[in-house]
Amino acid sequence: MKNLVMGATLLAATSLAGVTQAQALTVGVSIPAADHGWTAGIVYHAERVAEKLMEEYDDLNVIVKTSPDPASQANAVQDLAVQGIDALVILPTDPDPLVNAIMQVKMEGTFVTLVDRAPSNNDNSVRDLYVAGNNPALGAVAGEYIAETTPDAKVVVIRGLPIPIDQQRQDGFDAALEGTNVDVMEKQFGNWNRDDAFRVTQDFLTKYPQIDVIWAQDDDMVVGVLQAIQQAGRDDIQYVIGGAGSKDMIKKVMDGDPMIPVDVLYPPAMIGTAMELTVAGMMDQVPVAGSYILDATLVTPENAENYYFPDSPY
Amino acid sequence: MKRISGGAGESMRDDTERGGKAIILETAGLTKSFGPIEVLHGIDLTVCTGEIHAVIGENGAGKSTLMRLLAGNLKPSGGDIRIDGQSVSFANPTEAEARGIVLVHQEILLAPDLTVAQNIFLGREINRGLAVNDRVMNAEALKAVGELGADIDPETPVSRLSIAKRQLVQIARVLLTPHRVVIFDEPTASLTPVETDALLKVMRAIRDRGVAVLFISHRLNEVKEIADTVTVLRDGHKVATHAAGELEPSDMARLMVGRDVSKLYPDRKQDDNGEAVLEIEGFTVPGYAKDASFRLRKGEILGFAGLVGAGRTELMEGILGLRPGRGTVRLKGEAVHFNAPIAALKAGIVYLSEDRKGKGLLLSKDLRTNLTLAALDRFTKALMVDRNAEDKALDAAIRDFDIRTGSKELAAGELSGGNQQKLLLAKMMLLDPEIVIIDEPTRGIDIGNKEQIYKFIAELSKAGHSIIVISSEMPELIGLCDRIVVMRSGEIAGEVTGEGMNENEIVVLATGVAGNRHEMAGAR
């Protein structure tokens, strides 16, 4: 494996130095550092697709940079610009503080692809291409599944952190359940953290003698939720719905675990989609500018295999 | 010796008599109570312009309380304070300052990282527009310090100044306020003789401008030298007010204590024949002491004299492994090297620091914890500290060292200075040491306790312990020791014994200059 990578890099390097040097293209990829499961998935997929692209296109160079916070990401973007890039694929740690750095790159004529997190002025002054998962749909899909499968369910919700993405998901969920018989008893924040989700679930179980469904919004938190249910020895909970598509949860869906019948996709692999599209637009000269919103696909035992990446850390 | 009797009734002549000087400040029947306890009982005090009026008394006699009443830091419980014959009352120090009464605190209350000028003008900065006007303040500060006869760059950070210069800056800061009465609370406590002399000169200069100077001090020779009038307090009562010329230091001491204390030092039988228990050869503590050699005999009390900064404390700390040092140390003929304090303690040498509160005792902890701290392994049984044994040890220490405490549960910080020193002595004696090194055994301790501590030291030597006493009080060394080693600038300048143990000899050795007696005398 390692040899292969080395070979590919070598190949890319020689071809850069060779005849095609004049047309050689460089794509910079700026993403958050792996600080939790989902971003770890982003890093994994960015590196995976970078390798694959460089193998496919001889005269393509892809540089992947990770940054822990907006300030260092702004620096990273500047560094990339100095190195000379033809396209920038960026998943901002926090979009608004980074808008100026991105616009600067774009004004120099660089093709900019923005992924997942959009600034308030998400238009073509900031980016050429926008690729994102569908946050409201992530909530809506979960809500619809609950309304369909268990129309009279008593539900508790474990949210993430109080930030806009979380609110969008919650709004989508609430909208999907409007007018149904599903009873959402309470919502609490679990901070996208397993230990906090465990704690919140324990307290929910203490508070409510009957819970049918728990929507935990994120697969990491589901780990804590399942442990709390098991410890309480309660059998009233019929199932738990997470979100995002971690390999552990996809595996459970694949294996037909009754507690995890489905998962809702908000895949970190979307960074790969963005990179593929960007390179396609530049190398193959097909039009790609615009917005690409990925569906929040409902992962079921039937289609789970397509979304299972056993090598990914997430 | 002329006998002068104490007692409020026999206070000196009528106030207006004092050389025709005008009365500026007086108190009548001034009392102060904390809760149900009255600590000042009806003090009548009269202060005139152009005089230095010393207030003396043992610790706890009420000197500081009286000064704080006058400066507005405390409110009286009864009686009257009058300025120019007019009754006043101060809610806070600012109101007292407005009437011209200012206080120079004993502690240095300056911000170390600010410059001299910034400190002097702290809280009353001169502005130009929105910004502070450093140029003007620096010039004013230079002038203010110059008036005290000092030459200090106003832009120097205070942290770089010596203690004496800091004190001058503090005085300059106080004198910037228009003033008619200046109160000095033990200003010379931490100064060297030369510095003390300079400060006394400043005080005289202030007096000669017609200002009244109130002055608290423990150093009776100093009081004798500078004061015009002396008021003695004892247990919250005014005992007497006399013209300074009528009192010798021994009279002052008697009035303070209320009994005859001419016999301060215990009688000792000297024995020069004991074998050497500790021999030091060529010992160097980098930066403090160089190539020092001396020997200590069994049962001996060896004094160490010298000016502040001569390196006496540092030499001892170096020998005991409390700071880095090198040289030969022989304990009963055997060469040893202490690289950590514990090694010296185990070998039977203890050191009682001059800094009792900072290095000797845990002020917030109870007496028991303090007593057994150094010897805790003796009180440990099966991993556990044996509290019963600790209790017994505390009872014994309180009895043997006459530690006066209201309760055994008090924190060490709540004891008086003298009792703290006794507790520290008891703590170190628990280690059953052969050699005891005591640094400034009676600093800040009143005369009654002093006498007791001298007695303990003499008894220890009689019991076969060898003792080194470091002190800045020459009479103490002369009265107590068999021999005195004198240090100067980190080196051993000489040794005096027998007839040679007099202040003159010591001063010559300590300063390296013959006939320098006057400066040294100021140190007390």
Binding site: A33, A34, D35, H36, G37, T39, A40, V43, Y44, R159, Q188, F189, N193, R194, D195, F198, R199, D203, F204, T206, K207, D220, V223, G224, Q227, Q231, D248, S312, P313, Y314 | F34, I37, L322, A340, P341, I342, K346, S353, G358, K359, G360, L362, L363, K365, T369, L373, A374, L376, D377, F379, T380, L383, M384, V385, G406, S407, E409, L410, E414, K427
Partner: protein, 333 residues
């Protein structure tokens, strides 16, 4: 001054000591009353056991922090240390070098203890021998332990892969002995040992002496350096013990494991009456402080009248109010 002497000598003395030590327990009692009104399920054995069990990690870590803080130190790295030790422990289990699952677990536990102590030792040696402020040192090692964990896990989760091992280990967190959850027993055992060492042994006395005045300790022949290093070692040991109960709960760690636990541990210590500046240490107060932190969260969740958005604000306010009440009780004496 002299009247305080009198009152301390007399009956006032008992009251004085009691109130200072009792204050956190009074606060806990008040919270229990508050909780009872907030939800009928609050005062059930089940709920209280849940809360006590959950507080085990912070409580056990905070016992170690009590030693460090009493000696005048500080350790900010404990949260990251939990993640680091737990990750290595799980990786060792996954490497499955030993076939017998019971032996494997015992070996993993011993390894965790050793790693925890090594991490603590590192903190202690750098602060004392290097003479660097513990705040900075442990901030640095916090980054190191956290970064190494993220690197080991590649940012994702590290999970016990062997289902059998996990089932064997599970009772360490979820099991009970005579109806008492194992982690609660662990809290009590840790506190008993901690209290014995701090209050009854020579070493404990030395810790308090060093924390209340380093110079006095040095002049009394105490090796300040060794005393301090050992407090960090104890802290590392406590972290490792907490890890022994953390791993069986979820069987996995992630990059967010132990996040901000250092602040919770320090809060528990201070709420329990230990002085941040050193010189005073209260083990049982610390345990009580850990309970208080956990119970505040529990009450918030069980009560129906607080918006989910406001919970953090109210938790912060309750902790400050608890401290204010404590202080004012002390001042009134």
């Amino acid at each position: 001054m002299s009247d305080s002497v009198k009152s301390e000598a007399g009956s006032g003395f008992l009251k004085n000591i009691d109130l200072r030590v009792m204050a956190p327990f009074l606060a806990l009692a008040l919270l229990l009353v508050l909780g009872t009104f907030s939800n009928p399920n609050f005062l059930t054995v089940n709920n209280l056991m849940n809360v006590a069990t959950r507080s085990a990690f912070i409580a056990i870590i905070a016992v170690g922090a009590t030693f460090v803080i009493s000696a005048g130190g500080l350790d900010l790295s404990v949260g990251a240390m939990v993640a680091f030790v737990a990750s290595l422990m799980i990786m060792f289990i996954n490497a499955a070098a030993i076939a017998n699952p019971y032996l494997l677990l015992v070996a993993a536990m011993i390894l965790a203890i050793l790693i925890g102590m090594a991490c603590g030792l590192l903190n202690g040696v750098i602060t004392t021998v290097g003479r660097i402020e513990p705040f900075i040192v442990t901030l640095g090692t916090m980054g190191i332990y956290r970064g190494l964990t993220t690197w080991l896990s590649q940012g994702g989760a590290i999970t016990v892969r062997d289902f059998e091992v996990q089932q064997i280990y599970r009772p360490a967190y979820f099991g009970t002995v005579l109806g008492v959850p194992v982690p609660v027993i662990a809290i009590i055992a840790t506190a008993l040992i901690g209290a014995f060492v701090l209050y009854r042994t020579r070493y404990g006395r030395h810790v308090i002496a060093v924390g209340s005045n380093e110079e006095v300790a040095r002049y009394s022949g105490i090796s300040v350096r060794n005393v301090r290093i050992i407090t960090y070692l104890i802290q590392g040991l406590c972290v490792a013990v907490a890890v022994l109960f953390y791993v069986p709960r979820l069987g996995s760690t992630s990059a967010t494991t132990g996040m901000l636990w250092e602040l919770q541990a320090i809060t528990a210590v201070v709420v329990g009456g230990t002085a941040l500046r050193g010189g005073v240490g209260r083990i049982w107060g610390t345990i009580c402080g850990a309970f208080i932190l956990e119970i505040v969260g529990n009450i918030m969740l069980l009560s129906n009248f607080i918006s989910e958005y406001l919970i953090a604000a109210i938790q912060g306010a309750i902790i400050i109010i608890a401290m204010l009440v404590q202080r004012s009780l002390l001042r009134r004496q």
